[in-house]
């Protein structure tokens, strides 16, 4: 089967709506299909991967730890909009340290998150075959 480039476009914060968690569920399933998977975090979507989420006070499940599992499924292209971060007073240091082990480089641990400009994101998006929005 031909390999397609899939982009998962995440533009909403977690918890306020269900899209973040249900998007993550799709991505985990997608891993089994061995397609080329990219995730984009744009606008309030960047809050999905902010470090230190604690849902004890709102009675909802904290699924943020699950993003750490993405690396184990060879999903390691997490593009974060630099402009979206900056507009929100966030930096890469505020995000979870998501990593993967690079099998082509003696399983060295490498960061999965790539902070990119909107111009870069434009280019990345224009190469996609399928874009799933949530």
């Amino acid at each position: 089967m031909a390999i397609k480039k899939f982009m998962y476009l995440n533009r909403k914060a977690s918890y306020g709506t269900v899209y973040a968690i249900e998007s993550l569920e799709v991505v985990l399933i997608a891993a089994a299909f061995e397609q080329d998977v990219s995730l984009a975090f744009v606008d309030d979507g960047v809050y999905q991967i902010v470090e230190g989420q604690n849902t004890d006070g709102i009675g909802m499940k904290n699924f943020s730890k699950t993003y750490h599992a993405l690396g184990d499924y060879d999903i390691n292209k997490l593009y974060v909009s630099a402009e979206s971060l900056e507009e929100r007073g966030l930096t890469e240091a505020d995000l979870m340290p998501l990593v993967y082990e690079d099998e082509d480089d003696d399983w060295a641990e490498k960061p999965s998150i790539k902070v990119v400009s909107n111009a870069d994101l434009t280019k990345i998006m224009s190469e996609q075959d399928v874009c799933l929005s949530f």
């Binding site: 402009e83 909107n118 874009c131």
Partner: protein
Amino acid sequence: MLHTVNKSSFERNSLQSCLNIIDDTSVILLIEDGVISAANNANSSMLAELATQGRVYALQGDVEARGISSKVADNIKLVDYAGFVDLVVEHGTAVSWV
């Protein structure tokens, strides 16, 4: 690519987000409440620029439902659902700014 935007730019940031990332060859189709941004007074100069280039479409049924047919900028092209299908076929990957 075909970018669809379904919310008013007065209410949400989705049109702006689309404009931030759209490349030089893609087109935009405004649907549902997104057609509100097709009215003359819609507040984006960048959308107006793309419309001048013939790259902005709006769903006619949605425009008429909201009673704003006479307000739509001249260079925004109205399409019906068949036209929507044609845009999807012609422009490759579809991106929804939901």
